[in-house]
Symmetry: D4
Subunit: 146 residues, 8 copies
Amino acid sequence: MNLIVYLAGQIHDDWREQLKAQAEKRNLPLTFVGPQTDHDRSDQIGEAIIGEQPGDYYRDEAASAINNFRTELLIQKADVVIGLFGEKYRQWNTAMDVTRAISLNKPTIIIRPESLIHPLKELSNKANVTVETIEQALDVLAYVYE
Amino acid sequence: MNLIVYLAGQIHDDWREQLKAQAEKRNLPLTFVGPQTDHDRSDQIGEAIIGEQPGDYYRDEAASAINNFRTELLIQKADVVIGLFGEKYRQWNTAMDVTRAISLNKPTIIIRPESLIHPLKELSNKANVTVETIEQALDVLAYVYE
Amino acid sequence: MNLIVYLAGQIHDDWREQLKAQAEKRNLPLTFVGPQTDHDRSDQIGEAIIGEQPGDYYRDEAASAINNFRTELLIQKADVVIGLFGEKYRQWNTAMDVTRAISLNKPTIIIRPESLIHPLKELSNKANVTVETIEQALDVLAYVYE
Amino acid sequence: MNLIVYLAGQIHDDWREQLKAQAEKRNLPLTFVGPQTDHDRSDQIGEAIIGEQPGDYYRDEAASAINNFRTELLIQKADVVIGLFGEKYRQWNTAMDVTRAISLNKPTIIIRPESLIHPLKELSNKANVTVETIEQALDVLAYVYE
Amino acid sequence: MNLIVYLAGQIHDDWREQLKAQAEKRNLPLTFVGPQTDHDRSDQIGEAIIGEQPGDYYRDEAASAINNFRTELLIQKADVVIGLFGEKYRQWNTAMDVTRAISLNKPTIIIRPESLIHPLKELSNKANVTVETIEQALDVLAYVYE
Amino acid sequence: MNLIVYLAGQIHDDWREQLKAQAEKRNLPLTFVGPQTDHDRSDQIGEAIIGEQPGDYYRDEAASAINNFRTELLIQKADVVIGLFGEKYRQWNTAMDVTRAISLNKPTIIIRPESLIHPLKELSNKANVTVETIEQALDVLAYVYE
Amino acid sequence: MNLIVYLAGQIHDDWREQLKAQAEKRNLPLTFVGPQTDHDRSDQIGEAIIGEQPGDYYRDEAASAINNFRTELLIQKADVVIGLFGEKYRQWNTAMDVTRAISLNKPTIIIRPESLIHPLKELSNKANVTVETIEQALDVLAYVYE
Amino acid sequence: MNLIVYLAGQIHDDWREQLKAQAEKRNLPLTFVGPQTDHDRSDQIGEAIIGEQPGDYYRDEAASAINNFRTELLIQKADVVIGLFGEKYRQWNTAMDVTRAISLNKPTIIIRPESLIHPLKELSNKANVTVETIEQALDVLAYVYE
């Protein structure tokens, strides 16, 4: 049984590549999808497609519409959502994607460092499972196949 | 990941063929569906199947039921809906198809010329993304595969 | 049993006032809600609340978001939706509101002149009832109380 | 028509009281609900009800369950959700509440300072309306009653 | 706790009046709604509102749209649906109303004579409770208040 | 695009076989499913699986549960539902299956002889399309592939 | 804000009366509903309404349909569900009611003794809050009004 | 037509293996999924993935979250759910899984010994079919393919 996994979360490091590599090593039949991870591309996609906008606010508006189009489409296609929170960023998109997934009844895993236990406690309680590492998230997925 | 795209909108020119041709050039794994685009066939389908009706109103009633059957079925099958509005026609079907798609949580793109910004502003705000050209709509779809 | 009725449709004449007056004469226990009917106010509401925008497109964007907020809220509250189409305007908002209502399973009545039978045939088929006059729409509502 | 408004957002200042006071001045028929705004009470509610826990993580777990119980119940009761983001905090709960409301089709307003346009752009695009001040949020609500 | 009860079923005798009279005797806090029970009015309502039609088929079409408008609206308002089947008629409307109610998760009671056990067995199995008399149906409702 | 079609309706003649044969001749990519069409098997399935029951009523109860299990499962799998009504039987199962399909938003076609126009008028109005012959129902399906 | 609270759980002691008495002392604006708590009445309700059945199995069948009618109706009316598990009984109805409530997105509280932590761990994880005493359940409800 | 069948129920004997073996003998095109059936693994999975917990209660909490993640995911994937209740255990998870499945409109079969008729009567009434043996459950599934 192949599962589609949406990887929500920060796009400032290569955690998705690490996770995919480990999933492959374990031979888990998973297909991964996620948001645009090229940060500049993500910020500029509105102007890149629709053309120059009259200022930053409008540039952000144009980009966000297209990013949300992609995200909503892929979360709907996913069987599972994993959301990773890091220490540096506010990552409201991650909170949005995770809550959207939970509201669509998608089984959801949160990965967050110990330092974020307190600020994420309500979201963590709403998700199905919360872990601290990529390995643990894959352990949870692997458990489905045992 | 193959996506099914429903192409709502006017049936008086060949915009669907242009869009399909460009999608093929870009090698996007998209399957296109849509309403009956032979205008006469669409208007006569009721009488063609059910038999002659006692006047235009009843001819339209008979045709619309069968057109709606097709449209509802294919919108439900679609992953994405693109609705194109042109300047000449009232195209209430397009507005209906786009709103139906949005209500079913289908990610939706509107294509409309600059001249229609004002009359379409509320529908445009409700859709995920609004663009002005077929190329831009395909840019948005291509972005999902980046 | 009091019913809330959302009156979708053109805001260029006083059809809503006529309908309300007739409903009152008939003593129907109906509460009417609807979109902003002051056309200028509706177009300017974005800038009126959020401030000046860099051009017409952005002015429309700002206004449409607030108009949609109002419309979605009131359609959700409504038990019934009546949508009136006139001959002069494209009224895509009316098509949008009527389709939104149908998708939310709200019983829906369309009022349209004979001249619009053909272009509205699919939307008309999707609605519960289509009539030509305000009186007929109230006849349908009155029938619920017989 | 009385509306119930859920006030999501930070609990470190008195913005809710300001908003309620202004709503009262304008005679808007609104009933306000929201999360526990006594920060200490919110953090300690788990231990206060269920008893001492073996460490901070478990204290947070116990508190979050009860906070989520309250929040889910009141968001379901609400007709409208307003979410305010301030500059100081990560406020993932606010992002969660706003996304939950949007997923339940509750018309939603975000209030955020100009400085947060960029990090909130996707969530802002998903909400119905985004404004910068409490006054503007009430302007939007007042518009429903015009 | 007042409950709204929709009374689906044949309109050829006065079973609804009997049921209401007995409910009143028992002081059950129930409000009853249902379809148009004046058979001629029900058959003629289309032409009565929309005007003469070109034949029986179109007369039926016009009437059924308005009858369905009423029925859908009142079933949505109901907390409970009771459907009575008699021996004489095919009563497909009753089967339709009962199935619609079940699909909307409305608790549903069927009343049918012993002679109809066999042809109604699948619908009866789908409903919550099946009884043979009006008294028994009220017994079930009264049980909710014990 | 292959479609699954559920064939609701009477099980006393071979209309399903005729319809399938014609669909094959037209090379329509349709997969057909439906209820148990061996009437005796359908009536006896409860006792056949669960064992002898204390009388006809209980025999019917046992059979109906298993028939409904099959029907619900296959209607959920279907993309389209066709319901055929004949003149001889009350066929409440057909009315139930068609209404269930409509409530699940499955595009639905009714086939019924002219003689049943009147008693089926409300159900017919609720379905997407109503025709009189098997050929016409296949014409409607074929139209989706044009 | 008045809330309706469904009290699922064993009917062999007076825990509901204790809970109601304490709620009254605290002046909480709660209305309580629940299953039939007269055990004999609950077991005999089928035969009491429908008449004698041919054995225990059929007696249970008849009773369960009517009990489920009541339960489904009242859970749908409830804003909150509290489910109490005691040590003596298997109480599958309680597990059913609690899961039904969770599936309907009703905020749900489980009360269970320490001895049942292990067998109830999955259901407890699915509910919003789990406590050990009636007082604690009311503490959670009272927290909503703080 | 291949169907996915979720096997809810006790994990203390090999009933799933027996059922799978018989399904294979009958050549039924069924794919089986279910909960973790290694009891120790199921109880320890929380600590195995997340690390040691401060006591039994927290160990159970950690395990239940991961078990529920698996169960929810696989029930959503399933077309049919079979729940087996044995005489020895309280099996609240089985009641939870079965009720969850019913609430998601999954056709559901309960297998239970005669001795459990009474305590399971309400859940049994809510499921589509109840039988006493594995063979009978497969008979019901086989009937879908007749």
